[in-house]
């Protein structure tokens, strides 16, 4: 019996804490999802469990968070592919209905972009030698950003180079691109919900049964699979 399987039998699914950042967790066709995209911040998890008086082991809570992040990535990739598989025709109007007002409000967008740079800028100040508590109190607390978030994101930006790249990128365009993509995927999801309800209408099947069947098919035709032990595909019943 392979040692890894014996380990799993004794200790259960280990999740990602034994994995390296570049290890592959899952695939959606050619898209490879690596561990670094989903890995949890164990220090933050420990703090969170302590603060919430949660008795779960860190490994278990960490695995839950990684699975949630993996679900997000997989659902996003699958929704992208659902358009072709379901033969959906998503119009500009469909997308516009799902867009956040932020997309069309330049003043609000600029204000948000300031917010989105606040943590990386604060991290840069700390790296230059300023006291983290003083910087947090002055720059982030007034924005309602929790201290634990500051500390956790600081661990993500663990080099000056990452901070520089983040702050020098076209954040406005990147944010708009992300928001538009989310609006398009939300439109896809809304269309799927309507389709599944229409298919189920007048039959003995529920819309959730129709949806689950669709997602099983989508997962199959897109060659979506979990590669790493301890993780699972999204529950089709949780899909639109």
């Amino acid at each position: 019996m392979p040692l890894a399987i014996l380990f799993l039998m004794v200790f259960g699914a280990v999740g990602g804490h034994a994995m390296e950042p570049d290890d592959i967790v899952a695939r959606v066709g050619e898209r490879v999802i690596r561990f670094r995209e989903i890995r949890c911040d164990r220090i933050w998890i420990k703090e969170m469990l302590h603060a919430r008086n949660d008795s779960r082991p860190v490994d278990e809570a960490c695995l839950d968070m990684e699975q949630a992040r993996l679900d997000l990535v997989l659902k996003t990739e699958l929704l992208e592919r659902a358009v072709a598989v379901a033969g959906l025709d998503i119009s500009d109007q469909d997308i516009a209905e799902q867009e956040l007002p932020l997309v069309h409000d330049e003043a609000a967008l600029s204000k948000y972009l300031e917010f989105s740079q606040a943590i990386p800028r604060a991290i840069a100040r700390v790296r230059r030698g300023e006291d983290a508590s003083v910087v947090y109190a002055a720059a982030l607390a007034p924005l309602g950003i929790p201290r634990e978030t500051f500390d956790s994101v600081s661990r993500m930006f663990d080099t000056q180079e990452k901070i520089d790249i983040y702050l020098k990128q076209d954040l406005r365009e990147q944010t708009l691109s992300t928001l538009r993509r989310n609006a398009r995927l939300a439109a896809v999801a809304a269309r799927l919900v309507a389709n599944h309800r229409a298919v189920a209408a007048g039959t003995a099947r529920s819309a959730s049964d129709v949806a689950a069947e669709f997602w099983k098919k989508l997962i199959a035709v897109t060659n979506t699979a979990i590669v790493a032990e301890g993780y699972r595909l999204p529950d089709p019943k949780e899909m639109p």
């Binding site: 890995r39 839950d64 917010f115 943590i119 939300a186 899909m239």
Partner: protein
């Protein structure tokens, strides 16, 4: 010859009764003229309108009518006609909705009063009574009637009525909740993800008003909040998250913060998922204050239980609703 007599009849604006002709000891008294004077109380700020009614008299002891001429009428009719009884509600205060107070008014001839609630005797009142403490507004359903009856020693009576009107309403408000997460990606630097959720709160409230009596003082009994539903509507690609929320209001009993627990509300819209939090308050609202549903930050921010990690709430953390 007719003469205007010196007495007056006083009534409140909320009281109505006829101005009859009186027959006393062979005399008849009839209304000759009226006058109206309004005064405002410096404490309750209630304006009381007083109607003065003047009478003339005519008497007949022998079968021949004679009119008054400035002296008391003949035949022993020296007393003015009796002061017709009059009672009324001059104001009601629900500043403390648990102990509302109604103030009453009566004419001088009233020697006793009875207050009825929905036809049942609530209290017997002496002539000196000027205010009555009512049961809590919680026990006052829509249409509850207050009836005040005043009695004179001559066996005359007058009454006034007022009623409590309670109407229900659902007050709703929606806003966009914007959550930001930072992710590590396959790229050279972490990315920030911004996700928008439609968040709506609905509050079931009862509104109390009064018919037949005006209010004075703070209207803390005007709005009673019964329950709140705080729902987040979403679907892919927005990530799931665990969250907590609390409802904050200002109540006369200082029960101001309510933890909203998970509840199941059937919502049908284009969103694939709905998560609702509910709380039952059943509290009155301090007049002029707004209430809000609030998602705490810090370790209670929306990232617990299998969510994505530390999140920032950029917008929509608090939804405030007025009544």
């Amino acid at each position: 010859m007719r003469q205007t007599l010196w007495f007056v009849i006083v009534t409140l604006v909320s009281v109505t009764f006829a101005t009859p002709a009186y027959s006393l000891m062979g005399c008849e008294y009839v209304v000759s003229s009226t006058a109206t004077v309004s005064t405002t109380d410096s404490i309750t700020h209630i304006t009381v309108t007083v109607h003065y009614t003047y009478y003339t008299w005519a008497c007949s002891d022998t079968g021949t009518w004679q009119s008054g001429g400035g002296d008391p009428p003949p035949g022993g009719g020296s007393s003015p006609p009796p002061d017709p009884p009059g009672v009324g509600f001059s104001g009601i205060s629900d500043e403390n909705p648990e102990v509302p107070v109604i103030t009453i008014y009566k004419t001088a001839s009233v020697t006793s009063m009875k207050l009825y609630l929905d036809g049942a005797l609530f209290k017997t009142l002496s002539a000196a009574t000027t205010s009555v403490t009512l049961p809590s507004l919680r026990s006052m359903p829509n249409g509850k009637t207050l009836r005040l009856v005043g009695y004179t020693s001559q066996g005359l009576s007058a009454e006034a009525t007022a009623s409590i009107i309670v109407s229900g309403d659902v007050r709703s408000k929606s806003e966009v909740l914007l959550l930001e997460w930072f992710f590590e990606t396959g790229g050279l630097t972490p990315e920030h993800g911004l996700y928008g959720y439609l968040r709506s709160i609905s509050v079931l409230a009862g509104y109390t008003s009064y018919s037949g009596v005006s209010t004075f003082g703070r209207r803390n009994g005007r709005v009673q909040q019964h329950g709140v539903e705080d729902t987040i509507h979403y679907g892919p690609p927005n990530p799931d998250f665990g969250w907590e929320s609390e409802y904050r209001m200002s109540s006369p009993r200082a029960r101001n913060v309510f933890t909203e627990g998970i509840c199941w509300i059937n919502v049908f819209d284009s969103h694939a998922k709905h998560v609702s939090h509910c709380a039952e308050m059943d509290e009155f609202t301090i007049d002029g204050t707004s209430s809000s549903s609030f998602i705490p930050g810090g370790m209670r921010a929306p990232y617990a239980w299998g969510a994505l990690g530390p999140a920032n709430i950029y917008q929509g953390q608090t939804i405030t609703i007025g009544f």
